[in-house]
Amino acid sequence: MTDAKFEPSIVAFCCNWCSYAGADLAGVSRMQYPPNARIIRVMCSGRVEPYFIFKALELGADGVLVAGCHIGDCHYISGNEEAEKRMAMTAEVLDKLGLGRDRMRLEWISASEGQKFASTMKNFTEQIRKLGPNPLPKASPKKKGNPGNLKEKMNQIIEDTGAFDCVECGKCTTVCPVAKYNPDFAPRTVVLKASEGLVENVQTNKDVWTCVTCEQCNSMCPYKVDYSGFIRGMRNEAVEFDNVPVCSQGGLMQSVMRIQAITNLKQNRLGWLTPDLKIAEKGDVFYFTGCVSYYDSIFKDRKNLNMSGIPQAVVKIMNKGGITPVVSNDEVCCGHDLNWTGDEASLQKLMKKNVELIKSSGARKVVFSCPECLRTFRMDYQDLMGDFDFEMMHISELAESLIQEGKLKFKKAPRKMTFQDSCRLGRHLGIYDPPRNALKGADVQIVEMDNTRDKALCCGVSAWATCDEVSRKLQVDRLKEAKKTGAECLVTGCYKCMIHLNCVLENKTQVPKELIDIQVKDLSVVIADALE
């Protein structure tokens, strides 16, 4: 790999108080070190978000150094401790993506350690030189929107989604969860502005990013306007005008997903597989795990979130049901979140890889534990590629049929639980009964919340965009409803509902804990735990 001509470019984030001063000391002491690094001063190493590392790599850096005060010396008491946790997570994600943790390094360099700064630079530059250039393709210049044909494009979106049929009855507003707390937002006004020919929605207005695409409005609209489709179309245009969303985790998720779209790196995404689980390389049934392995690393510090437990539970259910599923390390993100944040191009790249992979596995049935993946396959992929010759189903549908066939045996342990219909599983895909039937089969009595099935309340955020105080209110509303049922836990069949609702429980809210304090569990985990 060593290339004599290859000069690595390195981004170094140095904390203001220690490492940047250390670099200064190295300079004024005239210590020699390679000039490959561009130093970016941050107030604290704790300021460095994992996303910074991915952004730097996406923009062409070959390596990223993060340097801060020694543990115990932080000028903000514990910023560097946070940095340590964050970088540990970053390293794991880099490994899983196949980029490797060696492209990133965290060092503690104090203001008096000019020597250490210089040697770290030397050392890290050599390390990167050995690794060779960053395998990510050079970022192509961003597509710039053309204001000239924007109206035409908007009209096409309006036509495709039936938005011309809007009679402004306002029913969408009455059921919109966002409109409940954000008085400036209403689905119909976004449509109205577009159909009046105003382009501000796309060019500057954040309304297109405010929508949580939960499809309450779609399901209620008397005239069947595909509002979420309309919003998605608008977002695709908006990003070209730099009208972009505020993304959760600074955009880390999208970055991880994009990297899967633009590279063919060998990932390491099967760390969750335990020896007792039986999987195959080829077979009739493919289990598409989704991004769960990445979420497992990213949300490692959330004590109630054991994301790895979900695919483990799914394979356990399948094995007990006599199925040895194909699980592949070469699976990539389905592209759902990119597609819903204005990046359909990446969706298409990911789609090709996934569909090829499934076809080569010989599977005739694909099972999903993530409703977003299922939605993307069943609706978006098939829209783009035509109908697939393999069947696609949610784990709840598979579990339901295995129970019906008498292939799953459960312990007798009657429990009372309530079920959260996620927007993708429920309103988008219309799957309401299978998860309930599967739970009933596992000796669970379902107690329904006030707003259930097609009226189920949103978990607050979708596609890792626009997580704000409205999201938090929606999450609290949902947990209150769940708590009120008297159920021992809230079960959901969606990774995102699980992550978002747990987020409320693990963070401070102004709501008394006893009103919302209910365990949130994944459907597959509940079913697998009840197996004999």
Partner: protein, 431 residues
């Protein structure tokens, strides 16, 4: 051949058609499915835009229709087969056994007191009970009892027999059988009316889940002095009288998603009327009508709405609405949109202007008669503009809501129109 016409459906359109024909000297066989003629209009409290008492203006017509020398009113009966063509149709009518001899019963009601079975009354929209032997409402025509065999203890369990013991005229006959009548007529008028759509499947309104959400037809019965609450407006949850009333329009109608894309044509007006009547009952009533578009377009209709605003303090809000509930007070919370802002307001009672939809039985009848249904499920005319009410089957005509949304005056006009067409068809066929 004797000139005769069969009218199917004894609502206001069918009654009008029958009277017109009978007055011309034509024999009319009026076939009605339920035990009494009168139809939907008999259930309404008042009519717009004059606030006339509905049954008060209908009952004389019902009585005229029944006692006219040229009419043969066959209630509790359905058309099951038709043969022949214009001028000489042979119609098979199944007259269901009512287990009461129509010629003997005087409708005195002594049997009612003795009957132990209680059944939700169809006429009262389930808000009150009737007995297994019953007359659907006080002004029913014919004024005779009917035994509902599904709920009669004698029929189901071979017990009781109280009504037979109570009847001094020995009108009760448990052994009565369904009869098939074969009737020859020159032409046929179909006036089978509409059904009220059940809004419980549209969960956003909470009907069936929240006790204080009512349908407009339930409300019509409730405010009627002869109705289940003797004209008192009562909440289901606590029997208290509401003060703040919300009327929600287009519930299930103008909604292609649900499958009723059409406008029902009467709800803007009947909700306005219902809001006015609330105020007429009690001075402190505050009503709000949530509407998609105000469609009050006939003589005096918009003025009626203006009068509701001006004289009855009715508030109109241009928004569709959905309903939540305050679970402690059972007060419905109406959520609506004002200028793109979500608002919600607590009311004591919500009344839903539910869609009026084609009857399933009408579609069955259409098969028997060879009629076509339109895209909405109503019966289709050969020409909706210039030949409304004439069907693709010569000698078969339509009137009233069965052919599409129509209010009372329009249904009456269509009844007369169908009567004229029926005569014309017979004359042309040489009958």
């Amino acid at each position: 051949m004797e000139k005769s016409v069969m009218v199917i459906g004894g609502g206001v359109a069918g009654i009008q058609a029958s009277l017109d024909l009978a007055d011309k000297g034509i024999i009319v066989h009026l076939v009605e499915k339920s035990p009494s003629i009168g139809g939907r209009m008999a259930q309404l409290d008042k009519t717009f835009p004059t606030n006339d008492c509905s049954i008060c203006i209908l009952a004389p017509k019902m009585a005229d229709c029944f006692s006219h020398p040229n009419t043969n009113v066959i209630t509790y009966a359905e058309v099951v087969g038709v043969e022949g063509k214009v001028g000489s149709f042979k119609v098979k009518v199944q007259k269901k056994a009512r287990y009461v001899d129509e010629t003997m019963c005087t409708g005195c009601g002594e049997c009612l007191e003795k009957c132990p079975s209680k059944v939700p009354s169809e006429f009262e929209m389930g808000l009150a009970n009737r007995k297994a032997i019953y007359m659907p409402f006080m002004q029913a025509v014919p004024r005779v009892m009917t035994i509902d065999k599904e709920h009669c203890l004698h029929m189901t369990k071979d017990k009781c027999g109280n009504c037979k013991k109570a009847c001094k005229r020995e009108a009760i006959d448990y052994e009565m059988k369904d009869q098939i009548l074969e009737i020859e007529v020159g032409s046929i008028i179909v006036a089978t009316g509409y059904d009220v759509w059940d809004p419980s499947s549209s969960t956003e309104y909470g009907y069936g889940r929240y006790p204080n959400v009512f349908t407009a037809m339930e409300y019509e019965r409730m405010i009627n002095a002869a109705g289940p609450t003797h004209g008192h407006i009562e909440r289901r949850s606590d029997k208290k009288r509401p003060v703040k009333m919300a009327f929600i329009q287009c519930v299930g109608s103008r909604n292609p998603q649900i499958g009723h894309p059409y406008c029902c044509a009467v709800c803007c007006m009947h909700s306005t009327k219902e809001a006015m009547l609330a105020r007429e009952h009690h001075d402190d009533m505050e009503s709000t009508v949530f509407y998609k578009d105000m469609r009050a377009c006939a003589k005096g209709f918009y003025e009626y709405v203006e009068r509701a605003k001006r004289d009855y303090g009715v508030r109109y809000i241009n928004s569709d609405a959905t309903v939540q509930e305050n679970s402690e007070t059972h007060n419905p919370m109406v959520v609506f949109d004002v200028g793109g802002r979500q608002q919600s307001e607590e009311f004591d009672m919500v009344v839903l202007a539910t869609a009026l939809v084609p009857r399933k039985e009408t579609l069955e009848l259409a098969k028997v008669l060879g009629l076509k249904a339109d895209e909405f499920g109503f019966l289709e005319s050969t020409d909706r503009i210039l030949n409304l009410g004439r069907t693709s089957v010569p000698g078969v005509f339509l009137a009233g809501y069965a052919q599409g949304p129509a209010d009372i005056p329009e249904s009456v006009a269509q009844g007369s129109s169908a009567a004229a067409k029926a005569v014309e068809a017979m004359v042309q066929a040489g009958a």
